[in-house]
């Protein structure tokens, strides 16, 4: 099968679960011997994907807008210059854009707001892939909807829209209505929708009015970690450490983590709380930590990758994911791969399939604190949880997800054939 995928940048330029999922799905599909054309937006940044990147490197306007990269095995990567990345908000895009162009939009090849950029990208991408021999289109999240939509129209090939998150997850009641309507259009016009959890599927049905028959739930997975570092708690000076790792933004509930930390520290002195990541709420969190007087027990590490990321997991006694609305949530699975027990929000997709974890409603700060204390007080608890959860991981493989995705493709292609 020849698959056309509209996705996101690969490691090391990964900005959260969406990028990881795209990458892993692509790897798994090609390992199943399918050929993949992968279209990704490329912006000339080189460091961490914080929003200040937009102002750090001016785009080279003389570069062609697409590059055909190496074709290896079954994978052909086509990158298009674009100014967006996952999770960038409407306002942040504008801020970055105007800072770059000194308010003069005339010379920029990029759209002067996020939607225009998505459209521009969409047109360019549709044109780019016109001559490629693909059987199916697979896109991930809303920003690639214009690209997929136009390609569906011009190629008459079936389109699978893969939902990793919805605007309501990301922004709650502050959802941007234009994004919601783009999502709605995509969900309605795609031939099939893949949701990363039953929770996400329900949201699509209830908030967007899509028929459940059109939506397949295919859970995300976690990649095998080679040569993982085992938790090092033999160090006598080791302080109990509790880890939050994720974007510091509304959706991830960092504020609940901070409040719970304060409650824990009222009862247990020798605990360190780590907030690893970056995001629009970082400043607010730092202020709150100071306000609560717990700064001595709190560390903000910024965005972590590679060895630093490994080290953060390896030194933690507990990982907490207090997400307000998490369509899936791969990061607790990564923690488990490092033998770290996890507390996860019930308002998450991963809680549907992970049994050996403590679950809590994101708003229930007192219960969250109580659970944190229990794990820190009783080694037998964390040990048992980590051990049993690790055994669960072997059923959560990207290969299985890819196989399910291929079944979805096949059902669409058969239908398409019978309609011709």
């Amino acid at each position: 099968m020849h698959i056309l995928m509209f996705g996101w940048e690969f490691p090391p330029f990964v900005s959260g679960g969406l990028g990881v999922a795209c990458f892993e799905i692509t790897k798994a599909l090609t390992s199943l011997n399918h050929a993949l054309f992968f279209v990704m937006p490329r912006h000339d940044h080189l460091q961490e994907p914080s929003l200040s990147d937009f102002t750090r490197h001016a785009p080279d306007k003389s570069r062609p807008v697409f590059d055909e990269k190496s074709t290896f095995d079954n994978l052909t990567i086509l990158s298009l210059q674009a100014r967006f990345r996952p999770y960038v908000s409407f306002n942040d895009y504008n801020t970055g854009y105007h800072a770059e162009n000194n308010d003069s939009s005339a010379d920029s090849i990029y759209g002067n707001n996020l939607f225009q950029e998505a459209d521009r990208y969409g047109r360019k991408a549709a044109g780019l892939v016109r001559t490629l021999p693909f059987d199916i289109i697979h896109s991930h999240d809303w920003m690639t909807i214009p690209a997929a939509l136009q390609t569906q129209k011009s190629s008459s090939r079936p389109w699978v829209f893969h939902v990793h998150s919805l605007e309501y997850d990301r922004a709650g009641e502050r959802a941007n209505h234009e994004i919601v309507s783009i999502e709605r259009e995509g969900l309605a016009k795609a031939d099939c929708v893949i949701a990363v959890s039953a929770r996400t599927k329900n949201m699509i049905v209830e908030r967007y009015g899509i028929s459940p028959d059109k939506i397949s739930v295919i859970y995300n997975a976690v990649s095998k970690i080679e040569n993982r570092k085992h938790k090092d708690t033999t160090d006598r000076n080791h302080k109990k450490t509790v880890l939050f790792l994720g974007r510091i933004t509304f959706q991830k509930g960092p504020d609940y983590f901070v409040e719970a930390a304060a409650l824990v520290l009222e009862k247990m002195a020798d605990v360190t709380f780590i907030m690893a990541g970056s995001g629009d709420m970082t400043g607010q969190m730092m202020r709150r930590v100071n306000e609560l007087g717990i700064a001595d027990n709190f560390h903000f590490t910024g965005f972590l990758q590679g060895q630093e990321l490994e080290k953060a997991f390896a030194m933690s006694d507990l990982y907490v994911m207090p997400s307000v609305s998490e369509p899936f949530g791969i990061s607790p699975l990564e923690a488990i791969a490092y033998d770290v027990p996890v507390i996860i929000s019930r308002q998450s997709g991963v809680s549907e399939i992970l049994k050996h974890a403590l679950k809590v409603d994101f708003w229930d700060v007192k219960e969250m604190a109580s659970l944190i204390i229990s794990i820190l007080k009783h080694p037998a608890l964390g040990e048992t949880m980590a051990k049993e959860a690790y055994a669960e991981l072997k059923d959560m493989q990207w290969k299985k997800a890819a196989e399910k995705i291929v079944s979805v493709y096949e059902s669409l292609i058969t239908t398409a054939v019978t309609h011709e």
Binding site: K366, A369, S370, I373, H378, A380, E383, T384, M385
Partner: protein, 405 residues
């Protein structure tokens, strides 16, 4: 039916137990509240089980005993916790059991008062709980305990020896294959190292046909009728054979609801069996009265009737369970020193085996059985709740030892 082969004697024995449910006890409740029991839940569950099972099944058994004028006999073991709750919430059920005792055809066994694992952790506590239970049974039913069965049929050579010392004549255990090898569970055995106490082994296949497989339409033996069951029992016939059908009383109406036809089967069963001449129902003590064969049953390790492993792993298999048990029994000294009956009562309630059962992380097919019975969202929630409570108990025991709270 071959008339030359003697029919087996039949020992029908039911265990009846209800734990005390613990209320949700967060870390922040420690030191703030000393109220561990969820009384509303205890009452609700007890009433439900009483209505589904204790009342109809108890009444039916009473009726059958009277109908067959002593040809139908059986045995019961009711835990101290269940008796206490019975008195509190459903004295009408206690009435029925007293009537059963009054027929003279029902034997009441002794066990640990709190249905606990005390034998594995504290000889002193174990002894006290047995004595307490013996007294309770004597008071309520007028019977001197002659037969002992430990919590969930936990058994070992050491236990048999101890019960022999305490004067019991018969003890029960599960007929585990690994210790029987090729021998039949339907014989009366002598525990290794003992001289006066007899051992009856549960015929787990036949018992589970009724207790588990009865309502399973995928089972080859489905549907189980009284006739079919009687035939299987009689097929175990032979000289000196006794078929021991030991099961949870809740099988009758609670685990297997009325709609499955379980009461119907029970009603037909005595008749179906007694049709065969030479077939006798006996109480446990009657079955072993004339025991003199020396078939030795050697169990150096602890066995039980739980799960496939038939050992203590259902309650002590993972490190949380071991930690919880170690912690509660670690409080014994403190609890005894504080000489506060209230504290001791709370300590005993926390020893009930169910609390540890809820912490099990086994997810095997038997694990589904675990989950059906488990009021907690996860074994971890069970452990956390329990340990928070034990934490609080530890602090009041400590305080009490310096003067009443």
């Amino acid at each position: 039916m071959n008339d030359k082969i003697p029919m087996p004697d039949i020992c029908l024995y039911f265990q009846l137990h209800q734990p005390r449910r613990l209320r949700r006890f967060s870390f922040f409740d420690i030191g703030a509240s000393h109220d561990y029991e969820d009384e509303a839940e205890n009452r609700r569950i007890f009433n439900r089980v009483a209505d589904n099972c204790y009342l109809p099944a108890g009444s039916l058994l009473l009726f059958l005993i009277k109908k067959f004028r002593g040809d139908f006999r059986l045995s019961f073991s009711i835990s101290g916790e269940a008796l206490d709750q019975m008195e509190l919430y459903r004295p009408d059920i206690l009435e029925i059991f007293q009537q059963l005792a009054a027929t003279g055809w029902v034997e009441f066994l002794n066990e640990t008062y709190s249905h606990s694992l005390a034998f594995l952790f504290s000889p002193e506590e174990f002894h006290e709980q047995v004595v307490k239970h013996r007294r309770r049974i004597k008071n309520l039913f007028g019977q001197e305990g002659r037969t002992f069965r430990n919590t969930e049929l936990l058994y070992s050579n050491a236990l048999a020896l101890k019960m022999e010392e305490m004067g019991y004549r018969t003890i029960l255990a599960d007929g585990v294959d690994k210790l029987l090898a090729d021998r039949s569970p339907n014989l009366i055995y002598r525990p290794a190292g003992c001289r006066n106490i007899s051992l009856l082994l549960r015929d787990y296949r036949l018992s589970d046909d009724l207790a588990f497989r009865f309502a399973d339409s995928n089972w080859s033996g489905f549907p189980l009728t009284a006739e079919k069951y009687a035939d299987s029992i009689n097929a175990r016939g032979g000289i000196g054979t006794v078929v021991n059908l030991f099961m949870d009383f809740e099988t009758l109406g609670e685990h297997k609801r009325k709609e499955t036809g379980i009461f119907h089967l029970l009603e037909e069963l005595p008749g179906a069996l007694l049709k065969h001449p030479g077939c006798h129902f006996l109480t446990i003590s009657e079955a072993t009265k004339n025991h003199h064969d020396e078939n030795i049953f050697d169990s150096p390790e602890v066995i039980s009737w739980a799960d496939e492993e038939r050992d203590a792993s259902a309650w002590l298999g993972n490190s949380m369970q071991q930690d919880a048990a170690k912690t509660i029994y670690g409080l014994e000294k403190k609890v005894r020193m504080c000489k506060d009956e209230n504290v001791k009562k709370k300590w005993r309630i926390l020893q009930t085996s169910d609390h540890f059962y809820y912490m099990s992380t086994k997810w095997s097919p038997d694990g589904d059985v675990h989950r059906y019975f488990n009021p907690y969202e996860s074994p971890y929630a069970a452990y956390i709740n329990y340990m928070n409570i034990v934490d609080d108990l530890s602090s009041i025991a400590g305080t009490s030892s310096r003067g009443k709270l």
